[in-house]
Amino acid sequence: MNFEIIVVGGGHAGCEAALAAARLGAKTVLITPKKETVARMPCNPSIGGIAKSHLVHELQALGGEIGRNADATGIQFRTLNTRKGPAVRATRIQCDKAAYSKRMLNVLETTPNLHIAEQLMTEFLIESNTVVGVIMDNGELLYSAAVIFCPGTSLGGTIHVGDVKEPGGGDGAPASHGITEQLRELGFRISRLKTGTPPRLDKVTIDYNAMEIQPGDYPPPLFSDPLELPSLFHVEHPETAQIPCFLTHTTAKTHEIIRSNLSRSSLYGGHIVGTGVRYCPSVEDKIVKFPNHASHHVFIEPEGVTSPLAYPNGISNSLPRDVQDALVASIPGLASARIIKYGYAIEYDYSDPTQLFPSLETKLIKGLFFAGQINGTTGYEEAAAQGFMAAINAVRMVRNQNPIILRRDEAYIGILIDDLVTKGTDEPYRMFTSRAERRLLLRQDNAQFRLCGRAGEIGVVDQAILKETNIAELRIATEIKRLNSLRVGSHSCLELLRRPEVKYGDLPCALNSLSGRLVCELENRVKYEGYIMRETKDAARMSGIESTLIPDSFDYVSTPSLRIEAREKFLRIRPRTLGQAVRIPGITPADISILAVFLRRHSASIRNQL
């Protein structure tokens, strides 16, 4: 069978990739072992959260599905960091896991140009360093011009529970073997990472009275425009229909149990070689590294409306089953809680992401793109962002168009990919707002506006929606002008609105016709104008080097004067712009100066040849 794009893997990266490619009109096939396992959430049951929410809003603006899918299947909706200013405000939606997966499958199945093959991929078909398709385990060959590989944690997956280990891809999925070996033969550097998940509890065996209730927000914050979702999947979201989370904590007894069983943990017993996540530590890690903390939070999160499972967020571990039983029972409210699925640690293979171009195409094999955990990231949102961008650029490659690379000062997605392909990672990479140099420019509330131009360039989002965004942009600008011209006493309305305590609705001249979203964006632009201008100026200062492209034909080897170390790094990373070159660890300003000089010479000599 012939396709334009093959997507391997139906997780969050794979779903986003398949949808984006098909929506751009490319004939696409998604290969996944079982339809019902697409878009599963093998770890926490939520989408968004600080910095991750920014990624989701950006995907929403560019035409991704993850935001809408979370909105439609959410059971609890919250805005985080409400008191800390718009730059770090974030949306988090607890989803019904089964519904999330089911709705995504429905979207996949109803999207034109998209086929689903329920198979396991076993091998890439490679001809002269170019991927031409894949072989499936039934022996069938699929041909395509590009392959987007999103295996999640299944590559060489090993699951650890205490000192027991068995192969597995996580959440009951099979591990895939053989592919790592093929990648190594092709020259890829592959290493191991580790992540873990807590035990799942039977929700009816929990005593919620012993815990603090955490209700959702009303009205529910969403990733997408509510008008785009005429009927939400689950409820119409009245306050009471949301399902609350609960907060409890570990106790001295919990810590004692863990301490006395550390040697039986797969992590501390020496069974795991992969690097774990510093910011999502296992409960063993927390207790060893922070011995002074008497207690740690544990959030009890529902996995769905009808699901019997509750997710105890905060006690991820790889201890033997009997220890997990004792550990859970030592937590207030969980004395008689029953574990349905035990926690485990999973080790898996990932490929050093500096082996990718910023388009997410591998440098070694033309037409082969990697997205998601294989690139060393963790998180559904990080995976979705990569899947989306990989698909956009795969389709563009097939159509002989230049790749679209989002800059660090225009999107968190740009930061994510730039960090990966420039610096690599030796621990599971997660997004933080502190990774952004211009955090005040990259708010979730302005994602739709700052990425409107890019969305047009990409072409997934409906033109009518982009037109509306442009109109909204114009309305905000007009309204700011109007506020500046109207006076209350000795101040203009604009000056009044700059004050922290004044809201748009407090102004005597406020218009009722502006939607809540527009009001929010208007307020932020006015109140933070000074800070935003400052960062815009800083970003503009760097735009010179960020837009100086380094042609792929640039010959580092015969560039005299470059330090050997610099030359090796440039050759390995092959930076796309001078800006990216600057960020390569170990590169000095002097290296960049030399590169800049020879770049100039290079382009001059190309001009002379023409």
């Binding site: 926490n44 959260g49 600080i50 910095a51 985080l80 960091n81 008191r83 800390k84 200013g85 718009p86 730059a87 770090v88 996540v277 510093r278 910011y279 999502c280 530590p281 927390k286 590294k289 922070f290 903390h293 740690h296 939070h297 544990v298 959030f299 967020n313 905060g314 933080f432 707002t433 502190s434 990774r435 140099e437 955090r439 005040l440 922290p500 933070y528 800070y531 400052r534 960062e535 200062r541 760097m542 735009s543 010179g544 080097i545 005299p560 004067s561 330090r563 600057v582 000095t588 300003p589 002097a590 290296d591 960049i592 100066s593 030399i594 800049a596 000089v597 100039r600 010479r601 001059a604």
Partner: protein, 454 residues
Amino acid sequence: MNADSDTIVGISTAPGAAGIAIVRISGTESLAIADQIIRCNRRISSLAGNNMAHGFVADGNDIDEVVVLVFKAPHSYTREDVVEIQGHGGSICARRILSAVLRHGARMAEPGEFTKRAFLNGRIDLVQAEAVIDLINAQSERAASSAIEQLEGKLSDYIRTCYDKMLTAAADLEYSLDFEEGDLGDDYFRKIAELVENVNVTLEEILNTWEEGVLLREGLKIVISGPPNAGKSTLLNGLLGRNRSIVSETPGTTRDTIEEQSVLEGIPVRYVDTAGLRDASCTVEQDGVRRAKESIATAGINIRVIDGSAPLEASQKPEEWPNADHWLIVLNKADLGLVMRKSDFPVNLRCVECCLHDETGIKTVRDALKVMINISTGSTMPHATISERHRAMIQYAQNELNECMILLKQRGEESAAEAAAALRRATEKVGEITGHFYTDDLLTKVFSRFCVGK
């Protein structure tokens, strides 16, 4: 990393005696900066390209009377807007003009940077580019011994401590932004503000001692010492060409140290005439002797004047020669017949025989000093420019820290993101001095201070 769109400044003339010194500014802000610091009957930015004007550089007080040349992009060496300020020769004026320009937002040019821009902007051809590479390589060699090592040891320790404290404050602030850990309380943010304030005080102290240091460096200190009535004040007056010290036949006339500024070989110098070294009887004089010894210890060049017509008393012997390179022995009163000769001193010691009462004697000393200055300034000049650059960086950091502190104190958690942005700019700037990278250090700090993640 400095973007090539920055405005840069440098002293374009070589240090040393010259009629004029040229300070060159290149970049988009050059004309705006010139407008701010040059008092002139017309705005510098209103001049057409390739024009000149006469005026005064003033930053508070008048610094120098200058001629200003304006070149407008692309008709300039770098193809950017360029302003050249021609002031009086010698490095004091040029350095003051330089620091005024730095204070108004320009950045110190790296070696070869004007030429690099000329090349990048297509002004000079490919053959010349090779020369640029050499310049850049020279820069990278210097960068290899990182900036911090060029600072004095104690100072760099202070700055490292500041960086670490700033990082701690940043980690606490970023933690509050990147992790949803419930209500941290106003106290949490007040403590961060206090830490930031604390760092700012230290930076202020560093800057104060630094300014003293820069002042010291502005003049090479030449200390004249010796037994009473050997001719120290005569030498000072001779070098200055006028009567500053009281000269008399009575030993102990100069009871305190006397300082005079002058220029030698185009280098600013400070002559210090000390009280005669002897076992003084009165307390005023004892004090003078003590101060003389202090001056000797901190001198760039020491001149020991000795009456060569009389045998050296034990108490008059140079007590120690801590650094023989910096000592010059003047055997005065050759006209009376010398009983002490050059050969009586160690061979590695510079020594001249002369009579300070006539002009040739003064010239002999001056020539000897010129040789010594040319040897010593090779190393002192670059230090002065580096510290100017660092000073500007610290001042930048201070402004940002101040903004951070005010935001946190006034609005606490609500302004945490804006405060963090200011703190980040400050920390990155100080990290440039210490050679640290903000993001990498920051996350490591956050993870070591907090047990994060659910």
